[in-house]
Amino acid sequence: MSHAWWESRLIENRRQFFRRSSTGIGVAALAHLLNQDRETVAQKPGAVAGNGGLPGVPHFAPTAKRVIYLLQSGAPSHVDLFDYKPSLDKLHMQELPATVRGGQRLTGMTAGQKKFPVVKSPFKFCQHGESGLWLSELLPHLGGVADDICVIKSMHTEAINHDPAVTFFQSGHQQPGRPSLGAWLSYGLGSETENLPAFVVMLTRNTFGEAQPLYDRLWGSGFLASKYQGVKFRSQGDPVLYLNDPAGGSLASRRSWLDQLARLNALRLKEVGDPEITTRIAQYEMAYRMQTSVPELADFSDEPESTFKLYGEEAKQPGSHAANCLMARRLAERGVRFIQVFHRGWDHHSNAAKNLPVLARETDQGSAALIADLKQRDMLKDTLVIWGGEFGRTVYAQGNPNAFGRDHHPRCFSLWMAGGGVKAGLTHGKTDDYCYNITENPVHVHDFHATILHCLGIDHERLTYRFQGRDYRLTDVHGNVVDDILTQPRG
């Protein structure tokens, strides 16, 4: 097949595309056309944007098409929010028995503390829904969707400090260097949308000065190709970096300019034959598409007032947790595979009684609204929503018991999941009277990852990437799917 012939086909298809693009046929079509025309060209991994994914993945029918993960960075207190223990009333201000602590290593922050007095939660708990889920008074809105969520009270992890713990949750390993959960999913499943990235990250503007820092690698691609990393949607400046022309050129003038650029690239392609040039042409088209689709996505003016009733007025403030929850729903509607929202400020080493209500208020309404909203749109059934931090907090007081804080606690903590094949209205796992040790159904971080992958139709032992001679997995050599919480457990 001659270059000239091939080139003419390409140009022809581009013309068709441009004719049609004004009537709404997207760049997907172009990428597809370019691709089809390249049957003779070896399919290089990663040569074409969008869909991709690995052959044979998903391994089986998924129950979730996408994930919205509301990560509560800094570690919320399970003692004060989810893990209701009337027993603590009696134990209040008593020393934590050494038998309960069982030699648990302590962080440098309380290792020097002489006494470990148990402090009960200063907040009331009450039951919600038909399932009778106990929740702290700090989470009234979540109570409203109690029958839609599944609370796991028996999470445990290995790390006792923020950096390794959040890195572990994000990548299955405490040290930096591995791909994040979202990157694994983009790599395995590819993208459902041609106009947006498969993996989007949003940061909540934190109102507390002392929030835990975050790092790009938490949504990084590790040893996977860098195109799998999460794309940050920002609430200041361009929503996506460099989305807008600072010179203010109009999209219309850019359209014809891009056509000329594509023509020049196509001439070169004819001369050289390198398929990377074809991809480059397609990527410029995709970039153009993003310039039109992202502003529309970020503009909430098409939302009815009822949306803001549901999510709260705060959802009108870009960067608030509520706004990010609403944005997450809009991204989910547009086919983004993995959406992660980081909400920070839970690291209450002192004054927990004062600080917790602030954080809980920030997260409660938006998170609950997201569940209700997805449900009313019939999207909850195939959207897995997750809410949780990187570890729990100690039942004993850090510092002065009158203005007590709680230190890091890896041995047990709570998080919740909803939709996407997870049983609704369920509580899984139990802890002891001290909220200190798990007594039933422990769920390790690796198990948690295996379960998420399972919901997406992926066998966590079979999603691998060969790097440095070894087949790496998100779950390393561990992980068991928690069948008990699934609507469709493994057969």
Partner: protein, 1018 residues
């Protein structure tokens, strides 16, 4: 073994991705069988004893051929009697190996290969990469004009065996661009292109290569690659990611490449420069290589846990960079594939376990001058010496005192209190002027308040401003602030000076430093002049506990004051979220004294009185008091000492402490760590090297120096191979061994085994001469081939493993940015120095980390700092520069041996809309108009040559010309759009060219810089 058919086989292997020898061919153990055994069997029947099943070991012949209970896994020549054969081809899935759940099932082809290998006698060889390196003889080829050096002979033999012929040589302008990028990371200038194209001498090409090898940009380009391997960064990584100053080490690398330090010395100095007998400071600086790992400062960490991580990182990095081995796999258990036991891992660990360091902390450190800034260091030392000599010089003290007294008397050295004539509060506060010219603030007490205070002065050469925050009974709480706790937070203190004579002449005063009598912790005075007010950043004074007036001095970077008088427009911002934290009573003064001499308060009234008297009118005690005060406050000695101290301090900033390696006087014991955990020590081990390799030479010490010498011993099978492979990878996109990060048994075989060993051996033979080995590859006919292979060529061999064409690939992140800067003329070529902060979208640092004291706004640079080469861009691990990261630069948390090379829409957006690239296009447009002749056509050619190195075809030129014309029409109709385009970036106002024309050309140059060809080497 026969030579040539083997090459055919490899083709099958690499092109068809099937490791199958043809039915009649001889099976090669290394190429065909070991990969199967390694991948499918070694996990349970390999080096790791703990994981070994059925006590069967298949990674060594002693295990594979051993008879156990009358059966052997492999019986040479007899597949049917080999237990291995029986099990891998078993009909019963429960009996079949490998087990189903391992996900490593063998294909029928693989099983057949194993069968035939056993049939052929099951010959066993050691893993190729562990075999001693022997330089193969050059292939004997029929006469051919194509080969230019031995590299080509190997390549041509392989091509012939494939029935292929080499591609023609690339055009001269392509070659010069390819070489320029490969050796310097920069495009050739038009003069350089012309010089090469016009040079018809027989050795024109070699001369051109040599020119680039001699350029200082060569060292920068080579260093850039090394920085990925060395996980170099300007921050400490982990959670807080605070800043470090390892750039001095980075300068060492650049200088080392430029003086062509041989690779063995390059290695020894970086791994063990501190241990060299009579080692120099520069050799100690080199050891920063092994301190480039991340260091955490997270409160609450367990010290030993992280100290152990750092040692691990060193070992894993050295294992990857010099040996291409995944030694880290043996941290927790025996290596699953390679012959490295856990004990041997900790034997290596012991070499790096001797540093006097902690998990929390940066010692050992040393201040060593950058080799690129020797001149600067000499100048500072000379100045210090001059001042010291000055100190020794005897002087007439009385005359000096008198001279000073006259200045005091005339008020020059005192603080001239300003008398404000305009005061305004953004929040409605009221100012009441007091007798001492201070302003008492009262009335409304808004949450945030900005005071605008104007005052006139006739003083010239004003060096500093004093702000006094005074107390007053009307203020709450007894201190100087307006809040009920009597504190204030001065978020920012700003000053604009306006000439009285020419009110349109004004300047914003930049304060170079600030000091205060008192600052609250985390609210230091410098935060009032750091340009940011977010996150309650500002100056506060512990108002709740310290109920005293307080003064601060702001030193202007350049003295100011207009002839004929100046109006000083002060702005005091109080924008902390605490609310009502305004200063309660303000007094402002100015001073023209040398800044070293400034006190918070001027000379006491009494001193001023004495100074005002004529000498004859002073009493003797008065004269003594005056002289004593002078000595104490302004004496020449004091001024000189202050200046010397300032220079010494400056030297510390120019040459900050850099982390280096050092060994403990008394060695630290090393233990096997069970499961790799810091708190689970097992058996004690000594510093040793793995048994698979030649042992440490008897005459070397058992420390890092010994280890470095061992690595560089010509008998080491890996060092030269791994290094040469990386050079090849950089030039051709893929290494001769594709898995440059794994030379173990799970890695790939070389595509050209004999070429590969020849090159590696040649590298050693030539004295590890880095420039020579590059010259060798670059002058080969192989490298000079055209990359225009047509779709069929690219389809047949997408990665160019056969080398039937020249290399073509997208440029690296740094090269793309440097290219734009270079062709626009913006590039600042200064070598080395502190890292710089080019353009970056606002807020990227603070949105991830806003902890006071641990983070700050990205301090975007000014002027030259925006246009330095990208390898000097400040590398923040947790938030790498988006310009570089978008184009696949790694985070540098760990050693990176191979960057991914992706092609994404986010890259298109960056190149389309990144201000750095738009500004470069603007300036490039300026060049096109100034240097490209008058006609549109000649300008098109000039611009196209800048972007791609070649002249456009007629079709291309016509297309670009039409773009110019239509953009010209568009901008003529919309001049504001033209203006806006030309205002992007900091250099915009420099151009005197016609605005519409330049905007239209900018549209063209933007397009040129976005061409695939402009961001590719081809």
């Amino acid at each position: 073994m026969v030579c040539w058919p083997r090459n055919v086989l490899i083709t099958c292997c690499c092109l068809l991705c099937v490791s199958a020898a043809g039915a009649e061919e001889k099976v090669d153990f290394s190429r065909d069988i070991r990969p199967i055994l390694s991948n499918a069997c070694f996990r349970c029947h390999g080096p790791d004893a703990a994981a070994r099943e059925a006590e069967l070991r298949l990674d060594i012949p002693a295990g594979a051929f051993a008879k156990r209970k009358g059966k052997a896994a492999i019986v040479a020549g007899h597949p049917q009697r080999s237990e291995l054969m029986r099990r891998i081809s078993h009909a019963d899935p429960d009996q079949r190996m490998p087990p189903k759940e391992s996900n490593r099932n063998l294909t029928a082809k693989e099983i057949d290969l194993v069968r035939r290998w056993i049939e052929q006698g099951a010959p066993w060889q050691q893993h190729w990469a562990f075999q001693p390196l022997v330089q193969p003889a050059l292939p004997k080829l029929a006469e051919d004009a194509w080969p230019k050096n031995p590299v080509d002979q190997f390549v041509l033999r392989r091509l012939r065996s494939e029935g292929l012929t080499p591609a023609p040589q690339a055009p001269a302008e392509t070659l010069v661009r390819r070489v320029a990028f490969d050796l310097t990371g920069l495009p050739p200038t038009i003069e350089e292109i012309d010089r090469f194209v016009e040079d018809k001498s027989p050795r024109a090409y070699e001369k051109m290569v040599d020119r680039y090898l001699q350029s200082t940009a060569y060292g920068e380009q080579m260093a850039r690659h090394w920085l990925d391997l060395a996980r170099y960064a300007d921050t400490n990584g982990y959670q807080y990611d605070t800043e470090r100053t390892q750039w001095v080490w980075r300068d060492w690398v650049i200088a080392a490449y430029n003086r062509n330090l041989p690779f063995d010395q390059f290695t020894i100095e970086q791994l063990a420069g501190d241990l060299l007998p009579k080692g120099t400071a520069q050799q100690r600086l080199a050891t920063g290589f092994n301190r480039n790992h991340g260091i955490t400062i997270e409160g609450g960490i367990i010290d030993e846990e992280y100290r152990v991580e750092y040692v691990m990182d060193r070992l894993v990095t050295v294992g990857s960079v010099w040996m291409g081995l995944t030694v880290g796999c043996a941290r927790c258990h025996e290596h699953k594939y390679d012959p490295i036991s856990q004990k041997e891992f900790y034997g290596l660990f012991a070499f790096f376990n001797q540093v006097p360091e902690r998990g929390l902390g940066f010692a050992p450190q040393e201040s060593i001058a950058s080799p690129l800034a020797e001149q600067q260091r000499r100048e500072i030392d000379q100045e210090i010496a001059r001042l010291r000599a000055e100190l020794e010089r005897p002087v007439d003290n009385a005359a000096e005192v008198e001279q000073w007294a006259r200045k005091i008397a005339s008020g020059v050295y005192g603080w001239g209190v300003l008398n404000p004539d305009f005061m305004k509060s953004s929040g409605g506060s009221k100012f009441t002027k007091q007798e001492d010219h201070s302003l008492l603030v009262g009335g409304a007490n808004p949450g945030k308040d900005v005071y605008d205070i104007h005052a006139r002065t006739d003083q010239l050469g004003v060096t500093a401003v004093r702000l006094q925050a005074l107390t007053d009974p009307s203020l709450p709480g007894g201190g100087p602030g307006r809040h009920s706790n009597s504190n204030f937070v001065l978020s920012e203190f700003e000053l604009t000076v306006v000439s009285v004579k020419n009110p349109e002449t004004s300047q914003v005063v930049k304060f170079s430093q600030a000091r205060a009598e008192y600052s609250q912790r985390n609210y230091e005075i410098k935060k009032a002049i750091d340009g940011t007010t977010s996150n309650n950043n500002g100056w506060a004074v512990d108002g709740p506990v310290r109920k005293k007036p307080v003064a601060a001095i702001f030193v202007a970077s350049v003295p100011f004051g207009y002839e004929g008088g100046s109006v000083l427009r002060f702005r005091m911002r109080h924008e902390a979220s605490f609310g009502t934290h305004g200063v309660g009573r303000v007094r402002l003064s100015v001073n023209s004294a040398p800044t070293e001499a400034l006190g918070y308060v001027g000379p006491p009234v009494d001193i001023v009185r004495i100074a005002s008297l004529a000498v004859t009118d002073r009493s003797e005690p008065e004269q003594k008091t005056l002289a004593a005060y002078y000595q104490q406050q302004y004496g020449r000695h004091r001024v000189l000492l202050v200046r010397i101290a300032a220079l010494e301090r400056g030297k510390a900033t120019v040459f900050p402490a850099t982390m280096v390696m050092k060994d403990l006087a008394k060695p630290r014991d090393t233990f096997i760590l069970k499961r790799g955990q810091y708190n689970a020590p097992g058996e004690k081990v000594a510093a040793t090297v793995p048994a698979i390799f030649p042992q440490l030479p008897a005459d070397v010490p058992r420390n890092r120096l010994g280890l470095a010498r061992w690595l560089m011993d010509p008998s080491h099978p890996l060092t030269a191979r791994v290094t040469v492979n990386r050079y090849w990878q950089r030039l051709f996109g893929v290494g001769l061994v594709k898995t440059s990060e794994d030379f173990g048994v799970q890695g790939e075989m070389p595509s050209h085994p004999e070429l590969f060993d020849w090159l590696a051996a040649e590298f050693i033979r030539q004295g590890w001469d880095i420039k020579k080995v590059h010259r060798l590859i670059l002058t080969s006919a192989t490298y000079r081939q055209s990359s225009h292979a047509g779709t069929a060529g690219y389809a047949a061999d997408p990665e160019n493993r056969l080398l039937a064409r020249g290399p073509r690939m997208r440029l690296a992140a740094e090269e793309i940015r440097d290219n734009a800067l270079a062709v626009s003329g913006l590039l600042v070529k200064r070598l080395g120095g502190k890292s710089v902060y080019p353009y970056q979208p606002k807020g990227l640092w603070m949105e991830l980390n806003n902890r006071p004291g641990y983070s700050r706004e990205y301090p975007q640079g000014q002027g030259e700092d925006l246009y330095r080469r990208s390898l000097y861009t400040f590398w923040k691990r947790t938030v790498p520069s988006p310009m570089l990261k978008t184009l696949d630069a790694p985070e540098r948390e760990f050693c990176t041996l191979q960057r991914s090379r992706t092609n994404t829409p986010l890259q298109s957006l960056l190149l389309l809309n990144g201000p750095q690239f738009i500004e470069a296009a603007q300036q490039m447009a300026g060049r096109v108009m100034r240097e490209g002749g008058e006609a549109v056509e000649s300008r098109v050619v000039f611009g196209f040559r800048l972007a791609t190195g070649r002249r456009p075809t007629q079709e291309e030129a016509a297309l670009i010309g039409s773009v110019y014309r239509s953009e010209f029409v568009r901008f003529r109709a919309d001049e504001p759009a033209a203006k806006k385009l030309l205002q992007v970036g900091q250099t915009s106002q420099l151009s005197q060219l016609d605005m519409v024309e330049q905007a239209a050309w900018t549209s063209v140059t933007r397009m040129l810089l976005n061409l695939d060809e402009a961001i590719s080497k081809g």
